[in-house]
Symmetry: C2
Subunit: 167 residues, 2 copies
Protein backbone atom coordinates (compact mmCIF):
# COMPACT_ATOMS: atom_id res chain seq x y z
CA UNK A 1 0.00 0.00 0.00
CA UNK A 2 1.34 3.37 -0.96
CA UNK A 3 0.97 6.13 1.59
CA UNK A 4 2.73 8.81 -0.41
CA UNK A 5 0.63 11.92 0.02
CA UNK A 6 -0.28 13.79 -3.13
CA UNK A 7 1.63 17.04 -3.49
CA UNK A 8 0.30 20.18 -5.21
CA UNK A 9 2.70 19.43 -8.07
CA UNK A 10 1.78 15.81 -8.65
CA UNK A 11 -1.96 16.00 -8.39
CA UNK A 12 -3.31 16.19 -10.99
CA UNK A 13 -0.53 15.18 -13.36
CA UNK A 14 0.76 18.08 -15.41
CA UNK A 15 0.41 18.08 -19.19
CA UNK A 16 3.52 18.63 -21.37
CA UNK A 17 2.79 22.34 -21.82
CA UNK A 18 2.26 22.77 -18.08
CA UNK A 19 5.57 21.08 -17.36
CA UNK A 20 7.29 23.59 -19.65
CA UNK A 21 5.43 26.38 -17.85
CA UNK A 22 6.73 25.10 -14.53
CA UNK A 23 10.32 25.24 -15.78
CA UNK A 24 9.72 28.71 -17.23
CA UNK A 25 8.32 30.03 -13.94
CA UNK A 26 11.24 28.60 -11.99
CA UNK A 27 13.66 30.37 -14.29
CA UNK A 28 11.83 33.69 -14.38
CA UNK A 29 11.95 33.91 -10.58
CA UNK A 30 15.74 34.08 -10.95
CA UNK A 31 15.21 37.15 -13.18
CA UNK A 32 13.10 38.71 -10.41
CA UNK A 33 9.76 38.00 -12.12
CA UNK A 34 6.72 36.64 -10.27
CA UNK A 35 4.56 34.36 -12.43
CA UNK A 36 1.01 33.13 -12.70
CA UNK A 37 -0.21 30.44 -15.05
CA UNK A 38 -3.31 30.28 -17.20
CA UNK A 39 -4.38 33.85 -16.66
CA UNK A 40 -7.15 35.45 -18.70
CA UNK A 41 -6.07 38.99 -19.73
CA UNK A 42 -9.24 39.53 -21.77
CA UNK A 43 -12.33 37.44 -22.54
CA UNK A 44 -11.45 34.55 -24.85
CA UNK A 45 -7.70 34.77 -24.24
CA UNK A 46 -5.82 32.58 -21.78
CA UNK A 47 -2.04 32.90 -21.57
CA UNK A 48 0.16 30.06 -20.33
CA UNK A 49 2.44 32.25 -18.23
CA UNK A 50 2.11 35.90 -17.26
CA UNK A 51 5.17 37.27 -15.49
CA UNK A 52 5.40 40.51 -13.51
CA UNK A 53 8.79 42.12 -13.02
CA UNK A 54 10.10 44.25 -10.14
CA UNK A 55 9.38 47.46 -12.04
CA UNK A 56 5.95 46.32 -13.19
CA UNK A 57 7.08 44.84 -16.52
CA UNK A 58 4.56 42.34 -17.91
CA UNK A 59 5.74 39.41 -20.02
CA UNK A 60 3.67 36.71 -21.66
CA UNK A 61 5.11 33.26 -22.35
CA UNK A 62 3.26 30.73 -24.49
CA UNK A 63 4.46 27.15 -23.98
CA UNK A 64 4.42 24.81 -26.98
CA UNK A 65 5.15 21.16 -26.40
CA UNK A 66 5.15 20.15 -30.08
CA UNK A 67 4.87 21.35 -33.66
CA UNK A 68 1.19 20.38 -33.65
CA UNK A 69 0.60 22.35 -30.46
CA UNK A 70 2.14 25.43 -32.11
CA UNK A 71 0.26 24.93 -35.38
CA UNK A 72 -3.06 24.75 -33.54
CA UNK A 73 -2.56 28.15 -31.92
CA UNK A 74 -4.26 30.82 -33.98
CA UNK A 75 -4.56 33.32 -31.16
CA UNK A 76 -0.96 34.14 -30.29
CA UNK A 77 -0.83 37.45 -32.13
CA UNK A 78 -3.73 38.55 -29.97
CA UNK A 79 -1.59 38.03 -26.86
CA UNK A 80 1.10 40.50 -27.92
CA UNK A 81 -1.02 43.53 -27.11
CA UNK A 82 -1.33 42.32 -23.52
CA UNK A 83 2.35 42.43 -22.58
CA UNK A 84 5.57 44.41 -22.83
CA UNK A 85 7.42 41.35 -24.18
CA UNK A 86 6.23 38.12 -25.73
CA UNK A 87 8.08 34.79 -25.63
CA UNK A 88 7.62 31.26 -26.85
CA UNK A 89 8.80 28.49 -24.58
CA UNK A 90 9.64 25.18 -26.27
CA UNK A 91 11.76 22.17 -25.46
CA UNK A 92 15.17 21.49 -26.98
CA UNK A 93 13.70 19.20 -29.67
CA UNK A 94 11.26 21.78 -31.04
CA UNK A 95 11.92 23.06 -34.60
CA UNK A 96 12.53 26.67 -33.61
CA UNK A 97 12.74 27.81 -37.24
CA UNK A 98 8.94 27.65 -37.23
CA UNK A 99 8.73 30.51 -34.75
CA UNK A 100 8.48 34.13 -35.91
CA UNK A 101 11.72 36.11 -35.59
CA UNK A 102 10.08 39.09 -33.92
CA UNK A 103 9.21 37.13 -30.77
CA UNK A 104 11.24 36.08 -27.75
CA UNK A 105 12.41 32.51 -27.27
CA UNK A 106 12.87 30.42 -24.14
CA UNK A 107 14.17 26.85 -24.19
CA UNK A 108 12.63 24.97 -21.28
CA UNK A 109 12.09 21.63 -19.69
CA UNK A 110 10.05 20.73 -16.62
CA UNK A 111 12.80 21.80 -14.24
CA UNK A 112 14.35 24.96 -15.58
CA UNK A 113 14.62 27.17 -18.63
CA UNK A 114 16.88 29.66 -20.39
CA UNK A 115 16.05 32.83 -22.27
CA UNK A 116 17.63 32.44 -25.72
CA UNK A 117 16.24 35.54 -27.43
CA UNK A 118 14.45 38.67 -26.22
CA UNK A 119 11.90 39.85 -28.71
CA UNK A 120 11.37 43.58 -29.19
CA UNK A 121 9.83 45.45 -26.31
CA UNK A 122 6.44 47.04 -26.93
CA UNK A 123 5.46 48.97 -23.81
CA UNK A 124 1.88 48.77 -22.66
CA UNK A 125 -0.09 51.98 -22.36
CA UNK A 126 -0.58 53.17 -18.78
CA UNK A 127 -4.28 52.38 -18.47
CA UNK A 128 -3.89 48.86 -19.80
CA UNK A 129 -0.87 48.18 -17.60
CA UNK A 130 -2.82 49.34 -14.58
CA UNK A 131 -5.81 47.13 -15.40
CA UNK A 132 -3.63 44.14 -16.21
CA UNK A 133 -1.58 44.47 -13.01
CA UNK A 134 -4.79 44.57 -11.00
CA UNK A 135 -6.08 41.49 -12.80
CA UNK A 136 -2.77 39.67 -12.23
CA UNK A 137 -2.87 40.58 -8.53
CA UNK A 138 -6.42 39.37 -8.01
CA UNK A 139 -5.86 36.20 -10.03
CA UNK A 140 -2.78 35.29 -8.00
CA UNK A 141 -4.39 36.07 -4.63
CA UNK A 142 -7.60 34.14 -5.36
CA UNK A 143 -5.63 31.11 -6.59
CA UNK A 144 -3.40 31.35 -3.53
CA UNK A 145 -6.40 31.46 -1.22
CA UNK A 146 -7.94 28.45 -2.96
CA UNK A 147 -4.74 26.48 -2.29
CA UNK A 148 -4.17 27.75 1.26
CA UNK A 149 -7.77 27.28 2.31
CA UNK A 150 -9.34 24.59 0.12
CA UNK A 151 -13.06 24.21 0.66
CA UNK A 152 -15.67 22.36 -1.36
CA UNK A 153 -17.77 25.51 -1.54
CA UNK A 154 -14.94 27.70 -2.73
CA UNK A 155 -15.13 26.49 -6.30
CA UNK A 156 -18.65 27.74 -6.63
CA UNK A 157 -18.03 30.97 -4.78
CA UNK A 158 -17.50 34.47 -6.02
CA UNK A 159 -13.77 33.90 -6.17
CA UNK A 160 -13.89 31.19 -8.76
CA UNK A 161 -16.47 32.99 -10.81
CA UNK A 162 -14.13 35.95 -10.89
CA UNK A 163 -11.28 33.74 -12.05
CA UNK A 164 -13.35 32.08 -14.74
CA UNK A 165 -14.43 35.43 -16.09
CA UNK A 166 -10.94 36.83 -16.02
CA UNK A 167 -12.00 38.85 -12.96
Amino acid sequence: MSITPASPVDAPALRPGQLLARGVCRHLVSHGFACVEEMVPAPGLRVDVMALGPKGELWVVECKSSRADFAADNKWQGYMEWCDRYFWAVDAAFPVELLPDETGLIIADAYDAEIVRFGPESRLAGARRKALTLKFARHAALRLQALRDPRPSFLSSAGDEQLTNGL
Copy 2:
Protein backbone atom coordinates in the same frame (compact mmCIF):
# COMPACT_ATOMS: atom_id res chain seq x y z
CA MET B 1 0.43 4.92 12.56
CA SER B 2 -1.41 7.83 11.08
CA ILE B 3 -1.29 8.20 7.34
CA THR B 4 -3.47 11.27 7.17
CA PRO B 5 -1.74 13.58 4.69
CA ALA B 6 -1.11 17.10 5.88
CA SER B 7 -3.23 19.69 4.08
CA PRO B 8 -2.10 23.26 3.38
CA VAL B 9 -4.57 24.42 6.04
CA ASP B 10 -3.57 22.04 8.81
CA ALA B 11 0.19 22.15 8.49
CA PRO B 12 1.48 23.97 10.36
CA ALA B 13 -1.31 24.61 12.87
CA LEU B 14 -2.66 28.14 12.59
CA ARG B 15 -2.33 30.54 15.50
CA PRO B 16 -5.45 32.30 16.85
CA GLY B 17 -4.82 35.46 14.83
CA GLN B 18 -4.25 33.40 11.68
CA LEU B 19 -7.55 31.59 12.22
CA LEU B 20 -9.31 34.95 12.41
CA ALA B 21 -7.49 36.00 9.23
CA ARG B 22 -8.76 32.87 7.47
CA GLY B 23 -12.35 33.71 8.37
CA VAL B 24 -11.81 37.32 7.28
CA CYS B 25 -10.42 36.27 3.91
CA ARG B 26 -13.30 33.87 3.30
CA HIS B 27 -15.76 36.65 3.98
CA LEU B 28 -13.99 39.30 1.92
CA VAL B 29 -14.09 37.06 -1.15
CA SER B 30 -17.87 37.36 -0.96
CA HIS B 31 -17.42 41.15 -1.20
CA GLY B 32 -15.30 40.63 -4.33
CA PHE B 33 -11.98 41.23 -2.58
CA ALA B 34 -8.90 39.06 -3.15
CA CYS B 35 -6.72 38.72 -0.06
CA VAL B 36 -3.15 38.00 0.92
CA GLU B 37 -1.91 37.45 4.44
CA GLU B 38 1.18 38.74 6.19
CA MET B 39 2.19 41.17 3.49
CA VAL B 40 4.93 43.74 4.03
CA PRO B 41 3.79 47.09 2.58
CA ALA B 42 6.93 48.86 3.79
CA PRO B 43 10.04 47.79 5.67
CA GLY B 44 9.22 47.04 9.31
CA LEU B 45 5.45 46.74 8.73
CA ARG B 46 3.64 43.46 8.24
CA VAL B 47 -0.15 43.52 7.90
CA ASP B 48 -2.28 40.50 8.77
CA VAL B 49 -4.60 40.81 5.75
CA MET B 50 -4.32 43.02 2.69
CA ALA B 51 -7.40 42.89 0.46
CA LEU B 52 -7.66 44.14 -3.13
CA GLY B 53 -11.07 45.01 -4.52
CA PRO B 54 -12.39 44.78 -8.08
CA LYS B 55 -11.73 48.49 -8.67
CA GLY B 56 -8.30 48.40 -7.07
CA GLU B 57 -9.43 49.34 -3.56
CA LEU B 58 -6.89 48.36 -0.91
CA TRP B 59 -8.04 47.44 2.60
CA VAL B 60 -5.92 46.42 5.58
CA VAL B 61 -7.32 44.16 8.31
CA GLU B 62 -5.43 43.61 11.56
CA CYS B 63 -6.58 40.51 13.45
CA LYS B 64 -6.50 40.61 17.24
CA SER B 65 -7.18 37.42 19.14
CA SER B 66 -7.17 38.98 22.62
CA ARG B 67 -6.93 42.18 24.62
CA ALA B 68 -3.24 41.48 25.19
CA ASP B 69 -2.66 40.99 21.48
CA PHE B 70 -4.26 44.39 20.82
CA ALA B 71 -2.40 46.14 23.64
CA ALA B 72 0.93 44.87 22.31
CA ASP B 73 0.39 46.46 18.89
CA ASN B 74 2.03 49.85 18.79
CA LYS B 75 2.31 49.99 15.01
CA TRP B 76 -1.27 50.01 13.84
CA GLN B 77 -1.48 53.72 13.15
CA GLY B 78 1.40 53.24 10.75
CA TYR B 79 -0.73 50.83 8.70
CA MET B 80 -3.45 53.37 7.95
CA GLU B 81 -1.37 55.21 5.40
CA TRP B 82 -1.02 52.00 3.38
CA CYS B 83 -4.70 51.43 2.61
CA ASP B 84 -7.96 53.07 1.59
CA ARG B 85 -9.77 51.55 4.57
CA TYR B 86 -8.53 50.06 7.82
CA PHE B 87 -10.33 47.39 9.87
CA TRP B 88 -9.81 45.47 13.06
CA ALA B 89 -10.93 41.86 13.09
CA VAL B 90 -11.73 40.37 16.49
CA ASP B 91 -13.79 37.48 17.81
CA ALA B 92 -17.18 37.88 19.44
CA ALA B 93 -15.70 37.84 22.96
CA PHE B 94 -13.31 40.74 22.35
CA PRO B 95 -14.01 43.98 24.30
CA VAL B 96 -14.65 46.12 21.23
CA GLU B 97 -14.91 49.31 23.30
CA LEU B 98 -11.11 49.25 23.39
CA LEU B 99 -10.95 49.87 19.64
CA PRO B 100 -10.75 53.40 18.25
CA ASP B 101 -14.02 54.67 16.76
CA GLU B 102 -12.45 55.94 13.56
CA THR B 103 -11.53 52.46 12.36
CA GLY B 104 -13.51 49.68 10.71
CA LEU B 105 -14.62 46.61 12.64
CA ILE B 106 -15.02 42.99 11.55
CA ILE B 107 -16.27 40.24 13.87
CA ALA B 108 -14.68 36.98 12.80
CA ASP B 109 -14.08 33.39 13.71
CA ALA B 110 -12.00 30.78 11.91
CA TYR B 111 -14.75 30.05 9.39
CA ASP B 112 -16.36 33.31 8.42
CA ALA B 113 -16.70 36.95 9.37
CA GLU B 114 -18.98 39.94 9.16
CA ILE B 115 -18.24 43.60 8.59
CA VAL B 116 -19.83 45.47 11.50
CA ARG B 117 -18.51 48.97 10.82
CA PHE B 118 -16.76 50.65 7.91
CA GLY B 119 -14.25 53.19 9.06
CA PRO B 120 -13.78 56.38 7.05
CA GLU B 121 -12.25 56.01 3.62
CA SER B 122 -8.90 57.68 3.08
CA ARG B 123 -7.93 57.18 -0.55
CA LEU B 124 -4.34 56.36 -1.34
CA ALA B 125 -2.42 58.68 -3.65
CA GLY B 126 -1.92 57.31 -7.15
CA ALA B 127 1.78 56.58 -6.93
CA ARG B 128 1.45 54.71 -3.65
CA ARG B 129 -1.55 52.74 -4.90
CA LYS B 130 0.41 51.72 -7.98
CA ALA B 131 3.43 50.60 -5.95
CA LEU B 132 1.29 48.78 -3.41
CA THR B 133 -0.75 46.97 -6.06
CA LEU B 134 2.47 45.82 -7.71
CA LYS B 135 3.79 44.61 -4.37
CA PHE B 136 0.52 42.78 -3.63
CA ALA B 137 0.62 41.12 -7.07
CA ARG B 138 4.19 39.93 -6.71
CA HIS B 139 3.67 38.77 -3.13
CA ALA B 140 0.63 36.72 -4.11
CA ALA B 141 2.25 35.20 -7.20
CA LEU B 142 5.47 34.24 -5.41
CA ARG B 143 3.54 32.65 -2.55
CA LEU B 144 1.32 30.84 -5.04
CA GLN B 145 4.33 29.51 -6.92
CA ALA B 146 5.92 28.32 -3.65
CA LEU B 147 2.74 26.32 -2.91
CA ARG B 148 2.20 25.04 -6.45
CA ASP B 149 5.81 24.05 -6.99
CA PRO B 150 7.39 23.39 -3.60
CA ARG B 151 11.12 22.80 -3.78
CA PRO B 152 13.75 22.66 -1.07
CA SER B 153 15.80 25.25 -2.92
CA PHE B 154 12.93 27.67 -3.36
CA LEU B 155 13.15 28.96 0.19
CA SER B 156 16.65 30.21 -0.38
CA SER B 157 15.95 31.53 -3.85
CA ALA B 158 15.37 35.03 -5.12
CA GLY B 159 11.64 34.62 -4.61
CA ASP B 160 11.80 34.18 -0.88
CA GLU B 161 14.33 36.93 -0.48
CA GLN B 162 11.95 39.23 -2.32
CA LEU B 163 9.13 38.21 0.01
CA THR B 164 11.21 38.70 3.14
CA ASN B 165 12.26 42.15 2.04
CA GLY B 166 8.75 43.15 1.12
CA LEU B 167 9.73 42.71 -2.56
